[in-house]
């Protein structure tokens, strides 16, 4: 709608006509050798969606097994592999790549740049990450190793030592796990460095740090946090590989090694990792909620400060995963306090989104529906997080289904909802076509209902004493009906995700033409064509405020008059 009203140079189409005679092989070759940030972003997202379907199928197999007590759908060995692979896949092959994919595609467009700072590093990082994922899944066929033991890793995504030692995990499954994470970890580090360099040095004229869209800010913070957190994980994996191959004794408790060292290293990585995953979701929410409420984000400087604050505090809370390992009472108390402190900047974010909605004119398109789901679910996830930070209560809740419910509320109710919202929001920019709104509503409502049936119920089996990571349970514990309900909810979510996948494919060919700015939005990516030409902007944009397109659309009342 805004095409003709925008005299922005980027809308000028100077793309040479290509691909008309391209053979399939050339097309494929183009994708493999590409260093274009947009194509790499798409590769990341497609790769992540593929693994989302794989890990989702693993979750459904887990839920079939747990639907009733004493079920024989999966053997204990296979069950343990599936929950290990489900967790590892969702965190490392879905969550991280899809969010870095969004960043790859959007950060240069949002800051008015023509590409990332290091396009070749960008391609290298993607292919490393992709190789890591393939390596992990190759374990299903290649992991038998010595003694015919193994196949996929079965030590849990947290892989507590000494269960990962050769004595307890013979064969090569655990090696695939460690090596896959080392490899994809290097890919992640490369992308993080790239995003930091891009945001710091590639911004267009007029885009000061405090005029960057919040998504870009969040990605900057996340990338910095990634540099700090992936490092201990990689170090721990290397120690594990040394233990397994070179006779090291870092975690070999039979030879005086320490199981505690692994637990510390893992959570020094693992807890900030949660924020690495959730903060891009905050960023997406901070882009979508203002546009669909038709208001500027409330308290932009507070949002930036809260993001940086969360990143800092998140580095000092890891041992709240360890309240049951036997720390001193003083140690426990410290981590209670630091963990509760995270609630304050997180609360500020939620309140600012609320204030952004307040007084707006909300349009309930699919991106906004998912964002509203996110707001409620993230509120609940935050509050159950407070409950878990209360160490004595955590002594009961830790490793129970309550924890499983809590982190799925964060990861699915928070992050996956925002990933869906982001895909509905930016799909028209990427493909030039809108996703079907009807299918989007089906997807949203089914997924919402399935999500709540599954994960609300999980809190209660946790209260009733059901631990996580068990392949079956006793029939007299009072968990039977609740588990059946949880499994039914899982199936509903599965159907919803299939509708989504169908929508992605169908709308690519038959979706409504989007135009450059279908949502009447305000950030720079909407000023260029959909899909954007390979050079993004024909002329470098110049901005004077946080919402350059608002200024263009409202020359009588531009933002730069009000921003301090």
């Amino acid at each position: 709608m805004a095409d003709q009203t925008l005299p922005i140079a980027g809308t000028l189409d100077v793309t040479p006509r290509e691909r008309s005679q391209a053979m399939l092989l050339e097309w494929l070759h183009g994708w493999v050798v590409t260093v274009d940030h947009k194509r790499l972003g798409i590769l990341y997202v497609v790769y992540a969606i593929f693994f989302l379907l794989v890990a989702g199928a693993e979750a459904l197999a887990i839920r079939i097994q747990l639907a009733w007590p004493g079920n024989h759908f999966l053997s204990p060995q296979v069950y343990n592999r599936l929950f290990t692979m489900h967790g590892t896949t969702m965190v490392f092959l879905v969550g991280m790549p899809i969010l870095f994919g969004f960043a790859n595609y959007l950060v240069p467009l949002m800051i008015g740049a023509r590409d990332m700072a290091f396009p070749r590093l960008n391609a290298f990082s993607f292919w490393l990450t992709a190789f890591g994922g393939l390596l992990l899944y190759y374990s299903f066929i290649g992991g038998f190793g010595l003694y015919g033991m193994g196949s996929a890793p079965d030590v849990g995504w947290f892989a507590y030592a000494p269960l990962t030692a050769k004595a307890f995990s013979p064969g090569h499954a655990t090696d695939y796990w460690a090596l896959a994470l080392i490899v994809s970890g290097f890919g992640t580090l490369g992308t993080a460095i790239n995003i930091i360099a891009t945001t710091l040095s590639m911004r267009c004229r007029g885009m000061t740090l405090l005029r960057m869209p919040l998504f870009v800010w969040l990605m900057l913070v996340v990338s910095a946090l990634t540099l700090v957190t992936i490092t201990p994980l990689t170090a721990a994996q290397i120690m594990l590989v040394i233990d397994r191959y070179l006779g090291g004794h870092f975690f070999d408790t039979q030879a005086g090694g320490s199981a505690m060292v692994w637990i510390h290293f893992f959570w020094i990585f693992g807890h900030p990792e949660v924020y690495v995953l959730v903060m891009p979701a905050f960023g997406i929410a901070s882009e979508i909620i203002p546009v669909f409420s038709r208001k500027a984000i409330f308290g932009y400087p507070a949002m930036v400060a809260a993001s940086v604050g969360i990143a800092f505090v998140s580095l000092g809370v890891w041992a709240h995963h360890m309240f049951t390992v036997g720390m001193t009472s003083v140690g426990n108390t410290f981590f209670v306090l630091s963990t509760m402190l995270v609630g304050i900047p997180t609360g500020i974010k939620l309140f600012n989104w609320l204030a952004t909605i307040w007084g707006g004119k909300i349009r309930f398109a699919a991106p906004m529906l998912f964002s509203i789901g996110f707001l409620f679910q993230f509120l609940i996830a935050g509050l159950t997080g407070i409950m878990l930070s209360v160490a004595p209560w955590d002594w009961q809740l830790h490793n129970s289904y309550f924890v499983v419910a809590h982190f799925h509320y964060v990861l699915v109710g928070g992050i996956v909802f925002m990933i869906f919202a982001g895909i509905y929001y930016w799909y028209p920019k990427v493909t030039g076509r809108l996703l079907s709104e009807t299918l989007g509503k089906w997807h949203f409502w089914l997924f919402l209902i399935g999500f709540h049936i599954t994960f609300d119920t999980m809190h209660f089996v946790g209260f009733l004493g059901m631990p996580r990571s068990i392949y079956t349970y006793e029939p007299d514990r009072g968990w039977n009906h609740l588990n059946f309900v949880i499994s039914v909810g899982g199936m509903i979510q599965g159907i919803a995700v299939l509708i989504f996948a169908g929508n992605l494919v169908d709308s690519y060919f038959r979706g409504k033409k989007a135009g450059s700015d279908p949502w009447d939005a305000w950030t720079l990516e909407w000023s260029t064509q959909s899909p954007p030409p390979s050079y993004n902007f024909a002329a470098d944009p110049v901005v004077r405020s946080r919402r350059p397109l608002w200024d263009l659309k409202h020359p009588d009342d531009p933002d730069w008059k009000y921003e301090a």
Binding site: P76, Q77, Y160, L163, F168, T253, S258, A259, S293, R294, A296, G299, Y300, A302, T324, V325, G326, T328, S329, T333, V336, M340, G343, I344, I348, F351, N352, L354, A355, I357, W358, G359, G360, K361, I362, L379, L383, M387, V390, A391, P392, W393, W395, Q396, H398, N399, S400, F460, F463, L464, G465, P467, S469, I470, T472, R477, G478, W479, H554, Y562
Partner: protein
């Protein structure tokens, strides 16, 4: 109009809350003793009930926050939806407010202070409680898929079923559990008695319980420990002082030696059984598996995986994988007669 909407919004928010509350109330029997569902809302021991008190306080505060913030959110979303007759103009743009930001920073800080202080009190009360002289000491050793219980002062070694005396408020008789691991990480969790504490190799831990009602309390390993983590079940028998004294006396006897089952005993002593199992008074002195001296005093075998009946014992000896796939006990490839003799012998170990 607006009032109608807000009433609807309140209903929308309060409905799930009511469901949640009634679900909790239904599930939590607030029982005065053991129940088959090991709910954390049915504590029967001081650590578990201190935790419940704290958790109800936290639940009330977080519930209050949920109703307030969730209510505001729901109201705002309904109130500020774009109307059918919208004129297409943009709403008033508001960029922020320092006062408001300050308010919603300070209020959460105050809530955190309250929560933190309350939590700290319970941490110290439970974790650093002074140990009474009358306390019973038990060493718990976690093994891949079973529990070893040692009573060092009483000279008793048993497995999977912990027996402790009941305690009471006037004359506390708590049991202190020293937690060790023989292989990988495990976690001791009987929700009605206390929160969980991990068993980590090279890292001794301690926890305590003082059950106030007799009966059987169930729980299980709560730290993933390998293939059969799910069937590493825990049974805690809380007994009157008299019952407990009887149990102790029985456990202190050496194994039965009945002539009628000498053939079975011979098989036990000459096959690989002795590598892993101990039976006091015989040549069997293994330590990798459970002590079988008083096997028949236990209600279950295979760490709670099956009731201790002759049929189950038989099936277990023939093929442990059948009852508990992945258990570390190997199938001994005995013939039918040998198994019969062995089961007959084991059935005399009262």
């Amino acid at each position: 109009m607006i009032r109608e909407q807000s009433a609807r919004a309140i209903r929308l928010v309060s409905m799930p809350l009511l469901c949640v509350a009634s679900a909790i109330a239904r599930q939590a029997a607030w029982a005065d003793g053991p129940q088959s569902s090991p709910s954390i809302f049915a504590p029967a021991s001081t650590p578990a009930s201190s935790i419940l008190g704290l958790s109800l306080f936290v639940l009330a505060i977080t519930g209050g926050i949920f109703v307030t913030v969730g209510g505001l959110l729901a109201w705002a979303i309904i109130r500020y939806r774009a109307r059918e007759d919208d004129d297409g103009s943009e709403p008033v743009q508001i960029y922020g407010s320092t006062q408001v930001e300050l308010a919603w920073t300070v209020i959460p800080i105050l809530i955190v202070v309250v929560l933190f202080l309350t939590t700290a009190r319970i941490i110290f009360a439970v974790q650093d409680a002074p140990k009474p002289r009358a306390a019973l000491d038990v060493t718990v050793v976690g093994h891949q898929y079973w529990w070893e219980f040692r009573y060092p002062k009483l000279g008793i070694v048993t497995a999977n079923e912990l027996h402790v005396p009941v305690s009471n408020a006037h004359d506390p008789k708590p049991t202190y559990l020293h937690l060790l691991s023989a292989d990988v990480d495990h976690s001791f969790w009987v929700p009605q008695l206390a929160g969980k504490t991990d068993l980590i190799p090279n890292h001794p831990n301690e926890t305590w319980i003082d059950p106030l009602h007799t009966g059987l309390y169930v729980g299980q390993c709560a730290q993933f420990c390998g293939v059969e983590h799910a069937k590493m079940l825990l049974r805690v028998y809380v007994e009157t002082p008299e019952q407990f004294a009887v149990w102790v006396r029985e456990q202190q006897q050496p194994g039965m030696q009945e002539a009628s089952v000498a053939a079975g005993r011979h098989i036990f002593e000459t096959e690989a059984c002795t590598n892993c199992h101990r039976i006091a008074g015989t040549a069997a002195a293994g330590t990798f598996g459970p002590d079988l001296t008083h096997l028949m005093s236990r209600a279950t075998i295979a760490s709670g995986a099956a009731p201790n009946t002759p049929e189950n014992l038989r099936s277990w000896i023939e093929d442990p994988d059948h009852l508990k796939p992945g258990a570390l006990m190997p199938a001994m490839q005995l013939n039918d007669e040998q198994v019969n003799q062995l089961v007959a012998y084991l059935s005399t170990l009262h």
